[in-house]
Symmetry: C2
Subunit: 103 residues, 2 copies
Amino acid sequence: MKKSKKNILEKNGWKVSNADEFLKLSAEESALIEMKLTLSQNLRQLRLKRNLSQKELAALLESSQSRVAKMEAGDSSVTLDLLLRSLLSLGSSRKAIAKMLEQ
Amino acid sequence: MKKSKKNILEKNGWKVSNADEFLKLSAEESALIEMKLTLSQNLRQLRLKRNLSQKELAALLESSQSRVAKMEAGDSSVTLDLLLRSLLSLGSSRKAIAKMLEQ
DNA sequence: TTGATATATGTCAGATATGACATATATTTA
DNA sequence: TAAATATATGTCATATCTGACATATATCAA
């Protein structure tokens, strides 16, 4: 795993304090985090494609601009449930979401 | 939507008290619930394929038998995060999960 | 039957996620 | 440039999820 990726993860609150500990991230945890990051990225893409600001998307989702920012930033406080609900609200189909995950 | 499906949803805690209210389930909510049910079913299949009891799977996940039962039952208190972590722990790959969702 | 094992259901205290808010920092526009 | 708009970051009260436990109900073997 590249240093840059580790930095990104740490910045977003994933507890990865040193290389050893990082290696202890189980394969499952890593996979889950990477799935979240993939969905985050797709969320931002979709929002921009629709020419919405984070504030506008937040209104659509009945959430807040700051939470949308956190979703797009891949913050560790954001669940898959919230990401998926958001993608669906932006018009993604279940199939489209499956496609995002098949990588 | 068939009556039987409505009954299943209600039984599992999805607030769907009457037909009118049921119709108000947004398309997104329905899609999310169906995705969860799909993953629930796959979880049970996988567990049985591995010849594990719910108790044994719970130990593997550092969870409890009752929570595994709820996961498999599609209980509304169970998040996608937990379902996906469980599937990954049972050896499902990200790709396999994408496949489950592509339906 | 009976006892053993598996699964389902209800509850709850503690853990985690949420929207909201304030405010910092970019980015865009005039 | 400066002002306006957009996005990022930190915090918090409330809401929701979690593992654990008790206990009910199946399922199965003797």
